[in-house]
């Protein structure tokens, strides 16, 4: 397995070793050891839940730095549609694109029209697909990672159509290279991201050998400067290509709202995603064609690296789309011809990532499972996380794998101490 450079990192100077992130983590990937949160690469899906849970600003996204821009002759900012939604409903996307160029990017690349194209391509794919149903969008990279590690059976359900951000970057890079006589490697394309999941999808993509993007800046990183640029150097870039319908992809529900197939649902937020995937996997969730699912409640506007917050951002996007006419900008013949050329196809297979079993040998694994069950009987089941694992079951798991010890449990340690001092008495007189 490749070494995964993750999109989140703990700052040892800021982490106080509380257990907020460990308890919040949906895949139980965080342990607190020696007052420091440690993230398990194998289990992390880069959803960014820990960033939100941390009250000490100790978990940071691994974004690009301005120095990364200087590695390239020509730079392009590829803003998430969520960026348009950060400045109120009266700041038109054209002004945001103009502002981005004031920050030093040579060019910008709007992806709203590609969102609309992908919606059309998804419709075409659904009408030809033979299942298994329902098909699941790969737009949210954290959803894809979750499926890889926790729902490997659902991998055949993933729609094998690349995401709008990657497709837009692929097309723009190709065009720029031709038009400006640049080597593709001289062009730096940087996503302006609302979340950590996309940062990681650029570092270690699924469905692609290599990302068409070169890095990512967080919306929170560029917001201040961009706001100034919009105010002090007013101007607007062309918005001819912007698809009002595509803009809605910033919000949960946007993807299906631009599709023809209506036998679809939107699943918002990690808890609901787990609820629905559990049921699809067990077979009690049938009869649907397509699911768009987002780890963040509200979709991309709810990303951890945003400023406006998901409610205002939703309002802003809706208003912008409405003002711009709320219609499509994409010609269907164009989509069909690109489909024939396999332009939308993912380029490599998305594979399950089996999370390590207790042991490779079956008899050994069974022995460890028994041991784990026995340990769990002894643990207090308070799930207090003081041991550094998020709950008692995970501690039992860590112990049988040799990564923790029973005395990490403060309840058991207390029992031991009390047992030594006053045998038979327990802790009744505490």
């Amino acid at each position: 397995m490749i070494d995964r450079a993750h999109a989140v990192a703990t700052d040892p100077g800021k982490c106080i070793g509380c257990v907020a992130c460990s308890q919040a983590c949906p895949t139980k990937a965080i342990r607190v050891r020696n007052d420091l949160a440690v993230i398990d690469d194998e289990l992390c899906i880069d959803c960014g839940t820990c960033i939100e849970a941390c009250g000490y600003d100790a978990i940071r996204p691994m974004t690009s730095s301005p120095a990364d821009l200087r590695r390239f002759k020509y730079t392009v900012a590829v803003p998430s549609l969520t960026l348009y939604a950060q400045f109120g409903d009266d700041v038109h996307p054209g002004r945001v694109l103009h502002g981005l160029r004031q920050l030093g990017f040579d060019e910008t690349d709007d992806i709203s029209w590609m969102c609309e194209m992908v919606a059309s391509a998804t419709d075409a794919f659904l009408s030809e697909s033979k299942g298994p149903w329902p098909k699941i969008s790969i737009t949210c990279p954290a959803v894809v990672r979750l499926i890889q590690i926790r729902y490997p059976d659902l991998i055949p359900n993933l729609v094998p159509i690349e995401t709008p951000r990657e497709l837009a970057a692929k097309l723009r890079r190709r065009r720029l290279a031709a038009e400006r006589g640049l080597d593709p490697s001289e062009i730096g394309m940087f996503f302006i991201t609302p979340c950590t999941a996309i940062i990681h999808s650029i570092e270690a993509p699924e469905g692609l050998e290599a990302s068409y993007l070169d890095g990512a800046f967080a919306i929170t990183d560029v917001y201040g400067q961009l706001l100034k640029a919009i105010k002090h150097a007013p101007g607007s870039d062309s918005t001819e290509m912007i698809s009002p319908r595509g803009l809605r992809w910033a919000m949960a529900g946007g993807e299906i709202s631009s599709m023809r197939n209506a036998n679809t649902i939107t699943v918002r937020g990690l808890r609901d995603v787990v609820y629905v995937f559990d049921r699809i996997e067990s077979g009690t969730f049938q009869g649907l064609d397509f699911i768009e699912a987002y780890i963040c409640p509200g979709g991309c506007v709810g990303g951890q690296l945003t400023v406006a917050g998901r409610y205002l951002a939703q309002r802003n996007i809706r208003q912008l789309a409405r003002r711009m006419g709320d219609q499509g900008a994409v010609k269907e013949e164009k989509v069909r011809s690109l489909l024939r050329d396999h332009f939308f196809d993912i380029e490599s297979e998305i594979r399950a990532r089996q999370v390590r079993p207790l042991a490779r040998d079956l008899r050994r694994a069974i022995a460890l499972k028994r041991e784990k069950d026995a340990l769990l009987e002894r643990l207090p089941r308070k799930d207090c996380a003081a041991c550094g694992a998020p709950d008692c079951e995970t501690l039992a798991d860590d112990i049988v794998r040799g990564n923790a010890k029973l005395t990490d449990c403060i309840f058991l340690r207390l029992e031991e101490l009390e047992g030594k001092q006053t045998p038979q008495q327990g802790g009744d007189d505490a």
Partner: protein
């Protein structure tokens, strides 16, 4: 993508070879008739255990489909059942023994499309008459016996590495 969906009919099992194999691990679950609220939970727990034990993904997938069908059969038709789940050296064996109406014509019930489901069950997406055939199709060994007004016992085995069924 996995091209081998469980829709392709499997060959009839050869001589049952592991149905009486050495049991390394065993758990039993009680399934209660009409308990739709907890429908699928036993199947989900078995799946979680097999993941921890490192069973191949494809074997877990096929077994889970069979387990879910069998569990829902009990919930829809029987009073109650004991589900025994046994891990053998190279396979998993599951036995559902229910107390219920029994199946008068097993051959009929084993054909796709035949179902005694009520309209309510069909409204929930069940009763397509695929339950028993689906269990057989997703397992490597299958046996069924039934006595009317007493109950039905089904037993099936999924091999860890069966070769057919698209092991990944």
């Amino acid at each position: 993508m996995n091209p081998d969906e469980p829709t392709t009919p499997r060959d009839e099992p050869l001589e049952p070879r592991t149905i009486e194999g050495e049991v390394l691990y065993k758990e039993t679950f009680r399934i209660v008739g009409n308990d739709f609220e907890h429908g699928g939970e036993a199947a989900a727990r078995v799946k979680a255990i097999l993941k921890q034990l490192g069973f191949p993904t494809d074997a877990i997938r096929r077994l889970s489909i069979a387990n879910f069908e069998a569990e829902m059969n009990v919930i829809m038709y029987a009073d109650e059942a004991e589900m025994e789940f046994a891990v053998l050296p190279d396979a998993v064996r599951v036995t559902f023994a229910d107390r219920g109406p029994g199946i008068p014509d097993i051959e009929w019930a084993m054909q796709e499309g035949n179902s005694t489901a009520t309209p309510e069950m069909r409204a929930r997406g069940f009763g397509a008459g695929l339950g028993l055939p689906n269990i057989k199709r997703n397992s490597d060994e299958f046996s069924i016996s039934s006595a009317v007004k007493v109950g039905t016992t089904i037993r099936y085995v999924v091999y860890a590495n069966s070769g057919s069924g698209g092991a990944r």
